[in-house]
């Protein structure tokens, strides 16, 4: 008698998807470098544009590093689902008996691992280039570590909404950037506080809360967006 005796559990399916996307990310590991180089170049532009004065740079460094990191994460957002959409894998994923929620979450986590995390790790270097005060580095690392997860989650909503379009690029930025604002306010707020020697745990706590909220709610919107786009 035909019929799949047991459908794999969500855990197994999520692990399978994680594995697949990690493999894909590994095969395309050259792409990881691009946002990092982009961030370096943008940070280089600022002293060239506004002058090399250390005090001026140090003052704007916390916000600047955060904005640059945010833009670097945004760069690769458009492509989160695009390849899978074009080759039909996304369709197979959504037509499987698995709930899309966890699979989508897994895909976004992998995207974060190859975009947000490397940018976070490079951020201290960007701070150094802009003579950021010493107290800012710890909050910078922690705020980006959590903040970039939110950015990936929110960015994936934009990517999901536009996946069916031939070109998403600027449109994704337009949709997603306003939604990034709270994350950026609290992220750079923590770094500013750290630079000035004030406590910053409050800002970080809010940021963590936002990250949890985004990680729980965003996959719902992403799954919905992907299903709508599949129906063309």
């Amino acid at each position: 008698m035909l019929g799949p005796e047991q459908v794999p559990g969500s855990l197994e399916a999520t692990a399978g998807t994680l594995r697949r996307d990690l493999l894909l990310a590994y095969r395309r590991r050259g792409d990881i470098i691009n946002p990092l180089v982009f961030a370096l170049i943008v940070v280089t532009l600022f002293p060239l544009g506004i002058g090399p004065g250390e005090r001026l740079l140090a003052e704007i460094a916390p916000g600047l590093v955060w904005v640059v990191a945010l833009l670097a994460c945004l760069l690769s957002t458009d492509s989160i689902f695009r390849d899978d959409y074009l080759d039909g894998s996304l369709q197979q994923m959504l037509l499987s008996p698995q709930p899309g929620y966890f699979l989508v979450q897994a895909k976004v986590v992998v995207h974060w691992l190859v975009s947000g995390l490397p940018v976070t790790l490079m951020a201290p270097l960007l701070g150094l280039m802009l003579s950021m005060p010493g107290g800012g580095y710890l909050p910078l690392l922690v705020s980006l570590l959590f903040g970039t997860i939110s950015l990936s989650m929110i960015g994936a909503i934009g990517a999901g909404l536009t996946v069916g379009l031939k070109r998403g690029g600027v449109l994704v930025a337009l949709i997603v950037l306003p939604l990034y604002i709270p994350v950026m306010i609290f992220g750079s707020g923590a770094v500013v506080a750290g630079c000035e020697g004030r406590p910053y745990s409050g800002q970080l706590a809010v940021l963590v809360a936002l990250t949890v909220l985004a990680s729980v709610l965003a996959p719902l919107a992403i799954t919905g967006a992907l299903r709508i786009n599949m129906d063309d």
Partner: protein
């Protein structure tokens, strides 16, 4: 097992029933809505009025269960070219069905990809890439197959093998809906639904 479905719109008052052990070919000119019909059956699109029933239940009411019951092969077959044949299959079945590695090798051997298990998709020919997706048919135990142009890019030998595969599935009690421009030659009787000239 009986599968009933009927619905209307694009193709007005279309109604048909597909029973276990039967093969149904959806025929019609380009643009007559064959792919659209298959997408309705797979639950991808719901821009129709009427009902599609799976064992008496509307598919959107039992969607999670229904999705475990069919295998859908589209124009874009869901094969990532950056992954090897084996990796592609492993992911597919991690979502759909418990299997062991032996089954994967067996499936790839059956579709003539023995020795290509660990070759990345982009190094394979278009026909071989297509065969990765066809290996799912060998392994899958889903009772209903929804196949959109399964013979695309397949050579003559492959066509015969695939036709055998379809017959075997039907004899095992499965049901198949497919579209094809190729003159289907099966060792068994099969049904046809003819779609009228496109009227989108």
């Amino acid at each position: 097992m009986t599968c009933e479905r009927d619905h209307r719109l694009l193709f007005e008052d279309l109604s048909f029933t597909l029973s276990a052990g039967r093969v149904l070919q959806v025929a019609g000119a380009n643009g007559s809505g064959k792919t659209t019909l298959l997408r309705f059956l797979a639950g991808i699109s719901n821009a129709y009025s009427g009902d599609i029933l799976w064992r008496g239940d509307p598919i959107h009411k039992v969607s999670a269960h229904y999705r475990s019951q069919f295998l859908y092969l589209a124009h874009a077959p869901g094969v990532s070219l950056s992954l090897t044949a084996l990796e592609n299959l492993r992911w597919y079945f991690s979502l759909n069905q418990h299997i062991d590695s032996q089954a994967l090798y067996h499936g790839l051997r059956e579709v003539g990809l023995e020795g290509y298990e660990d070759v990345p998709g982009f190094r394979l020919s278009a026909g071989q890439q297509r065969r990765i997706a066809l290996a799912r048919l060998v392994i899958s135990r889903a009772p209903l197959w929804i196949l959109d142009e399964p013979f695309t890019a397949i050579d003559r030998g492959g066509v015969t093998e695939l036709e055998h595969l379809l017959c075997r599935h039907a004899r095992d009690g499965g049901a198949i809906v497919l579209t094809t421009h190729h003159a289907l030659k099966l060792d068994m009787a099969f049904d046809r639904v003819e779609l009228e000239e496109g009227q989108c």
